[in-house]
């Protein structure tokens, strides 16, 4: 499931962007140092393969619906985690730019959920441990299916957490979790089965292909603890920094708006960046039922205890009406100027 820009707050989006960008930098160095220049075209072309593969469907028996390969796990098995992470990241970049899957800010989250998790959490901690050193059909199958299940569960948990921390959606955490996890259990199971089947096919035809990834299995070649720890620290630092910055600034911002416009913006103070902090604080206390329901009126009333209710109503109606009229006017202005610009530029084009 692709995370979307519209559901993200800048703090959450920015933090995870930083984590993903750091991982990309790290993996590039790492793959470059490996000096296996075969991998350079291989990664790019396999990324294109993933795209192509996702356009082909299969029917899921007994349901009448159809599914397609996600492929993150498959790529990790074929390329090893570092190269696979880069390949998956490039697929997501293209999806974000060309197919409007997710978005530019959400790219960080998507790279994390669909790239980082399979490559740096599931692969080393689940797949490698289960698969063992010697290739064995039964263990391989179990390892792949469990990896797919865990990978999709974690990915979906990622989406839920990112959405919830962002506070743009009003879905309560528990409800969202209950909606997302079971769906992804099913998706994970299908992904696991398909991956097993494809890996089996490849193994029959060209066993040496799977060797590229398994070469990495030798102990000592994986300073993975390093990368995981580094990036969690980086995330904490960036996230902490951003939220400090964010928590101070909006106050200043609102103060500025209040001064300039004479009244606060039409929004609850509980939204967005504030929501993130509020969520952080509120999480420990009332986790399941937390939502960002804090109407503007409450705070306004809180500020003016015993204020005239009627006057307040009128005030709010006024604000709303003014807002509506202004919005329509702005839109008209914007599109009007767009048209004028277009008209002005077209003759120039014709004459040239």
């Amino acid at each position: 499931m692709h995370m979307a820009d519209a559901l993200l707050s800048p703090v959450v989006g920015g933090t995870i962007w930083a984590v993903s960008a750091g991982s990309i930098a790290y993996c590039s160095k790492k793959v470059h140092r490996e000096l296996d220049d075969r991998k350079i075209p291989l990664m790019g072309v396999l990324a294109a393969f993933l795209f192509a593969a996702q356009t082909i469907n299969f029917t899921i028996p007994g349901t009448g619906s159809s599914g397609h390969l996600g492929g993150g796990l498959l790529l990790t098995l074929l390329l090893g985690p570092h190269a696979a992470f880069l390949a998956i990241a490039s697929v997501l970049v293209v999806q974000a730019l060309f197919f409007a899957d997710g978005g530019v800010l959400a790219l960080g989250c998507n790279i994390f959920n669909m790239g980082f998790i399979p490559a740096f959490i599931v692969y080393p901690f689940i797949y490698r441990n289960l698969r063992g050193k010697k290739l064995n059909q039964g263990r391989l199958t179990t390892a792949i299916i469990l990896s797919a299940l865990v990978g999709l569960q974690l990915g979906s948990l990622g989406v839920v957490l990112e959405t919830w921390f962002s506070g743009i959606s009003a879905l309560p955490f528990a409800t969202f979790l209950l909606l997302m996890q079971p769906i992804h259990l099913a998706i994970g199971a299908v992904e696991g089965i398909v991956t097993v089947a494809v890996v089996g096919f490849v193994y029959q035809a060209r066993p040496e292909i799977l060797r590229i990834a398994t070469e990495d299995l030798e102990p000592g070649r994986y300073p993975l603890r390093g990368i995981v720890v580094t990036f969690f620290v980086a995330a904490l630092l960036v996230g902490g920094g951003l939220s400090l910055f964010a928590s101070r600034n909006p106050d200043g911002l609102e103060w500025a708006i209040a001064r300039v416009a004479g009244s606060s913006e039409l929004k609850a103070p509980g939204g967005g960046i504030h929501g993130f902090l509020a969520a952080l604080q509120g999480r420990t206390a009332v986790m399941p039922d937390y939502s960002f329901r804090r109407p503007a009126g409450l705070t306004a009333a809180g500020l003016k205890p015993g204020g005239d209710r009627k006057k307040e109503e009128v005030e709010r109606l006024g604000t709303a009406a003014a807002g509506l009229a202004g919005t329509l006017l702005t839109l008209a202005l914007v599109f009007g100027s767009g048209l004028i610009l277009k008209r002005r530029y077209q003759p120039a084009e014709l004459s040239s």
């Binding site: 590039s28 220049d37 082909i56 990241a89 530019v104 089965i193 202004g326 914007v334």
Partner: protein, 272 residues
Amino acid sequence: MKIASIHGALLDFRRMELLAGGGTALHRLDPRAKLLVTLFFIGTVVSYGKYAVTGMIPLVIFPVVMASLGELPPGYIARKIALLSPFALVVGLFNPLFDRTVLIHLGPLGISGGWISFSSILIRSILTVGAATILVALTGFPAICRALEQLGTPRLLTVQLSFLHRYLFVLIEEGGRLSRGRELRAFGNRGLGIGSFAPLIGNLLLRTWGRAERIHAAMLARGFTGEFHLRRESRFGGRELLFTVGWSIAFVALRFWNLPQLLGRVVTGITS
């Protein structure tokens, strides 16, 4: 995706490339300027609070101006934007369910916070998707890769992106041929299950692998030793600076002043 829509996606992709080949001043602008401004725009959009609706509206000026100056077909861009992230919309639709406190009264009509925040999500989607679409249509993928690299993205990733872009068409078409072969020999849904899917994907994978080996051979044959040398051309001049700084100031200004509110007050004479 069914074959038809794969085809559609491919056509769409090509159409975007075609648009990116245009010759307007915006097309000629250094891609870094466009990329930075787009990122800044998206940052601005998401920085609004969850109930922000009117405040965000003036930001529409960015996609509208870019699309008209860049002579992009408005219908096409609108259609691309209409394919909003279904996930965001579905999640957003829960807002009215869970957030029922009435925040605004428009005459007898009470609008709940949930509907307001849902509208906000809708507007965010339109703005962010629109900006990204316009960026690609005005710049083209290879130029975006170049800009990414010049802005510090590791070369390995941008090289990946170029390869992905180069072989995307080739492989989607190859996959399309394979799966057409399968569909023509399937009866209804029979024969389209995992039993035939795995060998098909496996085949595509093996062919892809072989192709990567041949590409690598071709690279070696031309003196490739693991380093990617690219020509660098920098055109980030005054125009680019003006473009970047100008838009940035505009975004900051629009972010701080709620233009529709101000305008509305002037027009309706309501002051509060």
